[in-house]
């Protein structure tokens, strides 16, 4: 257990950070360097402002997909929206924001209740939507025929992260004070005391694996969508 804690909590985070940053900067630099002629897809806004409004709309509400595949749009939009909420919620795992809570007039208990409710619901919804995405990949012939090991691996990884996260939220009731102390020690390169909750260790390990995997996999669609949309909306 000590070794696992040391590797997952004491060493891997630094490796994750370095590999992720190196990978993502490498990729984005490569995209930036590559030449690109005009390949506008009409109709498209004629001003730069209009272009960026259209891109932001795409990123926020998946407009093309809404027109192209309504069922998938429903599932995946809810999936990504929950993911965004959960991502924001995770800031509380690392540190607290007392100034923000005071500004909003929320006491400690209010914040905890709010976060437990929103986070809990998002954690369950994303689980259902993740299962839906896996289900359609396995069942719908047109998706099944283009799916390979990598596609199942990425979905499996995400589902495992979601499940271990939900276990912490609903079963082991993970202690945030502990994790904040841990992260504070991590960023100051001090001696860390890694939380011992096995669900945390699994969740944290897989989460880091996911972050490492982003620059080398189809998760590149996160930064890539801006780039590829920007090419076809270029007047």
């Amino acid at each position: 257990m000590t070794v696992i804690k040391l590797v997952v909590g004491g060493i891997l985070p630094y490796i994750t950070l370095v590999v992720f940053l190196w990978g993502i900067i490498y990729k984005i630099r490569k995209w930036n360097k590559a030449a690109q002629g005009k390949m506008t897809l009409y109709p498209t806004p004629s001003t730069p402002g209009g272009k960026w409004r259209k891109i932001i709309k795409e990123i926020l509400i998946f407009q093309s997909l809404f027109k192209g595949n309504r069922a998938l749009w429903g599932g995946t939009w809810i999936f990504h929206a929950s993911l965004a909420l959960i991502f924001i919620g995770h800031f509380r795992v690392v540190t607290d924001f007392p100034i923000l809570w005071r500004a909003l007039g929320m006491g400690k208990d209010d914040v905890d209740t709010f976060s437990a409710t929103v986070g809990g619901i998002a954690g369950l919804i994303i689980l259902v939507m993740g299962i839906y995405l896996l289900f359609r990949r396995m069942v719908i012939q047109r998706v099944k025929e283009i799916s390979d090991g990598e596609d199942y691996f990425t979905l499996g990884l995400i589902l495992a992260i979601i499940i271990s996260g939900d276990i912490m939220r609903f079963i082991t009731h993970f202690d945030l004070v502990q994790s904040r102390e841990y992260f504070a020690a991590l960023v100051t390169f001090s001696r860390v005391s890694v939380p011992a909750d096995p669900a945390f260790l699994v969740h944290f390990f897989l989460g880091q694996l996911l972050i490492i995997y982003i620059p080398f996999s189809k998760f590149l669609h996160i930064p890539g969508a801006f780039y590829s949309k920007s090419i076809i909306y270029q007047e």
């Binding site: 990729k27 490569k30 995209w31 360097k33 590559a34 030449a35 690109q36 002629g37 005009k38 390949m39 506008t40 897809l41 009409y42 109709p43 498209t44 795409e58 998946f62 093309s64 997909l65 027109k67 192209g68 595949n69 998938l72 995946t76 719908i140 012939q141 047109r142 998706v143 025929e145 283009i146 799916s147 390979d148 090991g149 990598e150 596609d151 691996f153 080398f216 996999s217 189809k218 590149l220 669609h221 890539g224 969508a225 780039y227 590829s228 949309k229 090419i231 076809i232 909306y233």
Partner: protein
Amino acid sequence: MSEERVISHSDIEKAINSVKAIKDGPRALQLYMDICAKCGTCAEQCHVSKANPNRRTNPAARSDLIRKLYKQDGSILTKISGLLNGNNKSLSADDLQTWVRDFYECSGCRRCALYCPFGIDNSVITRKGRAIVHALGLSPKMMVQTQETSDKFGNDEGQTYKSFMNAVEFLESELEEEHGIPIKIPVDQEADILFVPASADLISFPETQMGSATFFHAAGLNWTMSSKAFDGANFGLFTGDDAHMKRKNKVLHDACLELKVKKLVIGECGHAYRIAKRIGGPFYWGNDIPYEVTNIFILAAEKLRKGAFKLDPGRNAEPVTYHDPCNFARSTGVIEEPRALLRACVTDFREMTPNRENNWCCGGGGGLAVMDGKEGVKKNEVTFMEYRMNVGGKMKLNQIKETGAKYVAAPCANCKRQIMQLMDYHKMDVKVGGVFDLFDKAVILDK
């Protein structure tokens, strides 16, 4: 030609190297290699994939032919993911033969890009695949022949100065007979406008060419054609042969300079306009070129707004529908102009569903329309003609049926040929032609 062509080890190596070269650009291709999430949306929005649903017609799977090869970069990471995917297989001679057919079953219509959540334009990957087989001399015969003819004569039909002048003379006499007044088709004169159709219009679709001439006459425009540059069609776009594309565009560029025109006006030919406007012209020859590139629809819609001519739509009383060629709607944004003109020229205009940028490809795009036989492509189950009639054109056929139209206006030589054959093959009593064919009938000329 490709029938006797044996694929050697060095061919395979060349193909692999071309795929690897994507790492140096263009940006779109790199992104498409990196970001596809395999969500399957393109399969629902592709006319080929809808008409014949199987793995081979799935756009994401077609693009995977190149994507998977690209991802084999020899690193440990890709070897691990290769184990995961069963993707450590290298390219075989057999695969390469299949590529020819696969990349020519996609017409490059860009409809997938419209619906893809990331805007992945699979036509870019298709064109890369075609470029690779073209460089190996494996392109379908008709593609190779057309390019050779074009390089020799400056037009895809192999017309000489004499046959061009004969065609012009013939069309002028037809025009005079029809309208009762002489309508000139000026050739090689210094003018404001150089008009360039697809050369197929001069022989196969003369009504479109006549209607265009009548338009210039009715609008009182100072125009000319060039005996050296009367073909805007450019198969370099289809074969992925950039050098050919540039050579062919230079024919138009030189004619514009020689005749000192202010405008290069492309006729009813979508891909000709796309190349002239979006790929060639200022992008090849610099922003300071002395002419502007535009299109006959944009010009005609503007003249229509200004009331430059009188039209009697009653002369076109049959129900008419409009087919949006991919290269006009999605690739150059010429969407409302032809409609404005049509509405003024006919009494019963009917939209297809879906239409405009959402329109289904006719199945003849990307050069497919000119291929009838097996074209020396080894791995083909049916001829290109049968493929176009039963798979590529299926969505279009149904769309046309639903409108009940008796005339399909399809302003593109490829679309015209494809839809004509489609109507014929499926025994539909529907006429196919251009927009300017109808203009020619509707216009009221001062005698």
